[in-house]
Point group: C2
Chain length 292, copies 2
Amino acid sequence: MTRIGFIGLGIMGGPMAANLVAAGYEVTGYNRSSAKAEKLAAEGGKAAGSIAEAVSGADVIVTMLPDSPDVESAVLGEDGVLANARQGALLIDCSTIRPEVSREVAEQAERQGVRALDAPVSGGEQGAIDGALSIMVGGDAAAFAAAGEVLDVVGRTVVHVGPAGSGQTVKAANQLIVAGNIALVAEALVFLEKHGVDTESAFRVLGGGLAGSKVLDAKNEGMRERTFEPGFRIELHHKDLGIVQSAAREAGVSAPLSGLLAQLMEAAVVQGDGSLDHSGLFKQLAKLNGME
Amino acid sequence: MTRIGFIGLGIMGGPMAANLVAAGYEVTGYNRSSAKAEKLAAEGGKAAGSIAEAVSGADVIVTMLPDSPDVESAVLGEDGVLANARQGALLIDCSTIRPEVSREVAEQAERQGVRALDAPVSGGEQGAIDGALSIMVGGDAAAFAAAGEVLDVVGRTVVHVGPAGSGQTVKAANQLIVAGNIALVAEALVFLEKHGVDTESAFRVLGGGLAGSKVLDAKNEGMRERTFEPGFRIELHHKDLGIVQSAAREAGVSAPLSGLLAQLMEAAVVQGDGSLDHSGLFKQLAKLNGME
């Protein structure tokens, strides 16, 4: 039986770990605040008091952490995952972090006899609860094949996109496109409101043509009604656009749209909107136009 | 029986007029190059040798012309539509032009006892052939009601969005969003190629999540394979972003994304790519990155 150590039981990691328990895996979870590990235990898993305890007997280790420094500390640190994992274990890092950190994790893992994949996800809390995430996987093909059974429990679209770091690169592209689509719908809404157009009708016809997008469908009503409950928070999307920019710089990519989008998202954080849903980027376009 | 005068029988107007003939209307068509009017006659319509001949007996007049000056000349000019239309006729202008020109047309039409609607369309040549266009209609509600039967022949989604000029405003927003979605997919593709990712797999997973859009579905393969046959040409999208910018300035709208997109589209035209499909905007992002 495959034993799984799961590090990071937050909004995304919690339901992912619960789904693995429900699929019959023996899941030992660790979280910095222990209440979440106890919740996993109540759901049929085991609560660990340390990373070492969670991973020492594990065949597969899943990490789901907020940012690059968290992964560097929890995976590469002194009492971290690699210091405690057994030879031949498989590490699946589902965190959204900088591609270069994923490559560093893969290199250090290899030196320890651990196989590693970067496997960031898209689909939000609901996707995690439903086991319906999109998962973009970087790493070698044999490791991807070995991870298939576990990833299929938590994801619906699981795609191997290239060597170590590639999952992060594709996730970065995802966050660039999503931020851009949000900003475009927001700018269009400002434009339409300033012209006195019936915006509900307008978005109905826009959504039916080539301008249609998942973001337009999911977010236009909230923007029209100025409701920005998260969902996916601006502060996280801001972090992700930082990843886009550093990854672009590292590979020598001139990416003018990402530059503008990162500035708008930065303005939203600076002005205290970091805890809003990312569709709250609308407020920046509105403020530019003296509308709020 | 409703008699229709149809001015402008090009890539879009030709199939729209043919669909009106097929629906049983008596359609008299005029086009600057007479071969297209003769084609309509062969399809069961009538060919007119002048605008006056096309519109003098018409109950409904449809215009489908490339740009604002064409509409100013053909509708407002000395021997134009308004000089020859009968009292009580209904003018439906399907051209994509500046909202202020549509408002000017509506005002002059009212003075002549003609009702006018601006009714720009989205959906391209195939949408015109299939009678499946999205149509964004500005003008008064009674005129919209009177136009319903005719518009339902050429369109599938026909929406009244506000007073005169509003159809153009919504079409401008459509062209802004479409240009932005194209540029985002292009920038993401450059980013992914520079990182050596498997781009076919990457766009498969991107399309399944919140980054999904009609543009991503329709255009990513052509961009990956560098095939940019039109479709909708860059030179027309460039014209439309000019409309977005002048309409934004007129209403006092700060629209930073439209500014950047207009510059990229301008560069595409300046560099001789005007006759490519608008997805050819990819080439500008690629050139910025030394890739072409």
